[in-house]
Symmetry: D2
Subunit: 286 residues, 4 copies
């Protein structure tokens, strides 16, 4: 990382007077030009959240030096903070089962550069997506689940993820429930797409549940994975209008478009460091 790189600074800390002044004063003194900034103080949790994008100028010190100096301010305000290299592509590992629409959508955005990520691997408990993935010149790891010993597959998965060391894991319609251990290990950097408007219709076959209940809108929800199934912090949601004529299969088909859009938005927000955790909720600086 050199002085020309864009840097994205994210901060969470107790809310108090003077945080913005301290941060922006620090950046100004170190010849950093702010190109984007957003902050939010939660009146309920009394936490403060900030995201600040800046370009170090000719007189700015190295990023290492910047970080070292900033740590004094960070200490004063008890900040959880990080300076991310804005030009470094995030390493995103995608997990998928048999439904390939979200995978295909993410691969297309990756392929055309519209989503600036690296995909070191796609992992699946099925083999169906191999050809698509390999056409994109991405390694495909087939880890089938043996129903008699599901934990064996997950151990292999965890070992593989350890090796790959991704910045983000995306469950792109991966139809296996992760163990609490794996959920904990991936905490804060694993996004799932659930095919309903949460908290409605948790669990299996949400479109069928929606059909049975007779709702007039269906939706999809991208959220961080936690040990509580379908209860993690929500990043984005969207809905589409349906009516009595639609069968569960119609809802499944219509839902795919919503899932694609919601999941790819959530991935974008995450890799651009726009999402900060606020207890069981998210702050998303769009």
């Amino acid at each position: 990382m050199n002085g020309k790189h864009t840097i994205i600074l994210t901060i969470t800390c107790p809310d108090t007077v003077g945080i913005v002044a301290a941060v922006s004063g620090f950046l100004s003194e170190h010849d950093a030009f702010i190109t984007e900034a957003a902050q939010y103080g939660d009146p309920f949790s009394k936490r403060f959240f900030m995201r600040c994008v800046f370009v170090p100028g000719a007189l700015a010190p190295s990023v290492d030096e910047l970080e070292k100096r900033f740590s004094l301010i960070a200490q004063r305000f008890q900040m959880i903070w990080r300076m991310h290299d804005g030009d470094q592509k995030a390493r995103v590992v995608i997990l998928v089962s048999k439904f390939g629409h979200c995978l295909n959508d993410l691969l297309h955005r990756y392929h055309t550069g519209s989503l600036p990520i690296e995909i070191p691997a796609v992992i699946s408990n099925h083999s169906e997506m191999r050809s698509l993935v390999e056409w994109n010149e991405i390694p495909y790891h087939y880890l089938p689940v043996n129903k008699a010993d599901k934990t064996a597959q997950e151990r292999a998965l965890m070992a593989l993820l350890d090796d790959l060391d991704p910045d983000l894991v995306v469950l792109a319609r991966y139809m296996q429930i992760l163990s609490p251990e794996l959920c904990a290990q991936l905490s804060g950097h694993c996004i799932n797409i659930h095919h309903s408007f949460l908290p409605s219709f948790k669990g299996a076959k949400p479109y069928h549940q929606a059909h049975t209940r007779g709702v007039k809108l269906i939706g999809a929800t991208a959220h961080y994975v936690t040990t509580d199934l379908d209860e993690g912090p929500i990043i984005d949601q969207a809905v589409e209008r349906v009516d009595h004529k639609h069968t569960p299969d119609d809802l499944v088909a219509m839902g795919r478009d919503i899932e694609n859009v919601v999941l790819s938005r959530a991935v974008r927000y995450h890799i651009e460091h726009r999402v900060l955790m606020n207890g069981g909720k998210t702050v998303v600086f769009k």
Copy 2:
């Protein structure tokens, strides 16, 4: 009702061959011009639903005669059916508590004629809305709830509704739970607006529940009242995008606009006889 009136025919029956032919043949033979028609066969419940708007021509018999003759067809197909006078304004009684936005919205639509209804009365357990209602020259019935004996108020309410004999009762943010008896009595002609996107956030303070969960869309649901609280057949729903900045009060304020639109649409669908019941769900011929 004379021959010039528009008639709205609604039909529900077991699905089979020849229903549309029989109905449209009957109308054609009796010089009735169909201006609007919609039908739906539910592959799950095997029920058939039809709504047909027609104008009797010069050679058509009286409506009484039409009904008499049609009953033969109806019998053959085991129809639940009715011919509604399309020019007869529905009698709509509105129940309200302290939040007046839905009431104000409905009254404005009534006042300007955009919603072709009569409002023989507004009933409330509070007095706040009296002035607004009486400015619209509508009788206001104040039925306060005595917490020691809630049933007294409901007995008075039931008696009043018996007297008024409305086609539709609208719970426009009426914050009292109706007894199973009253729910049963009003079955199929009582619409409630629930201030959440059902089935999420049933019960009290849904906007606060939504805030706590951190959803990214909030919604409102208009549904028929049944003895199962917030579980009745859904007529319409809508949502609005929210984000982390919104407090519960913001959600309440934003939700009002959604509630207005959803409730008034549901009322319109009902009074135009566009809603047919399909078990715990609705068929809505928009």
Copy 3:
């Protein structure tokens, strides 16, 4: 086509009494079970539109015989009509230039069977999409445009389309203006996706126009191609919210998702014979 096939009957004719009765009576008499039907009488153009899906029963005659007998009714009502084989996949030729998102989206829907079509060819004035298309085992025709003689390319294109004889041509971000002759030849079976909410921002670079004007929503429009550029009958549209922060490049990126959804919906409506022409407008029986 045998008796087991689903048949989709589409009808356009002057509005008058008895059309539905005649059609449904005919189907009933010929042992055809209607599974879906929709009709509309336009009070302005005085035209009647009908779409009727039916399954011939055991006693039904052959489709040829059905058509022959139906032509008597058709003649009586001056119908423009057709019985389409509902199980026959439409032959769809896709034209594309350098932006591959709509192509990729359509190919994925084709590949997974969610869009029941055949794609005998993809044609492009560029070579970029060859690999993607050939991975899908579809012939790719590269017809580059020589700026000195644009008509040569179009002659080749017309000859190729003549050979392929498609049911539908889709301009999936094909950035060449078709000649009036080709527009006329493709009239009614060529769909274009325009990357704005028409009639706003016709012509080139609509997202840049939208940015300059400062609109708060951007959109996309799928329409039939006519000789009037971007003036053809609209099939579907959708929009997405934007704000002051979005650059033209952001709008282009966001717009892709809208274009995908709108174009694929329009293609689906067309191949399911849900779109009927009403002068310069469409009737879409969803």
Copy 4:
């Protein structure tokens, strides 16, 4: 204004390094607690925009003194700026003709306190809305237009507005075209609701234009009034889905709900000082 009042600081200036640092440093030094802040640097116009809400603490000087001291910073950065009293209700004058839905909506929000404004007067070229306005205890000024001398009415209107000295003038379906002089006089503090999704369907009868064109979505646009009819900076827009069945009258009726929501949002953004002008566009800090 005393130290306890919330203050909303708005700033527009050329973009450069150090603005946020200077502003937030100033506020921090003067014991002001920032509760909300948003900024934006336009890479095209090279202008910087900021909105900052703060509460002066116990040690803060008077607002007059704050303003005096801040003017030094303002001068350095060539700021167009203002400190608004966040607890001062804006004085909003509403102009209306015969369609009362937007007026009714705004009055209801005013009446219930959901829109914290004062309405010193409603002005109309018709008398229809007098009763509604006076029920809300607001003076109603009836200024009929004499077609032979339209300027007489406008002179009276201008004199009245001079007297009333409003912070904002809202054209809530006021169907008269303002003269260039009046537009200039009201520049930046007069909001119009146009009943189309601009720039589509400028001018008269936009819903009829939309029906003729056969669009699949209709919309409404709130914008600042300029001398160019329907060309002023857009504050907010929204749309609703329509289809072939809708007559122009249906579109008018459906459009009312969109107009209400869009206009009331634009008014809220304006009175909360969330809208800054960026050439012919707006920056809206939601």
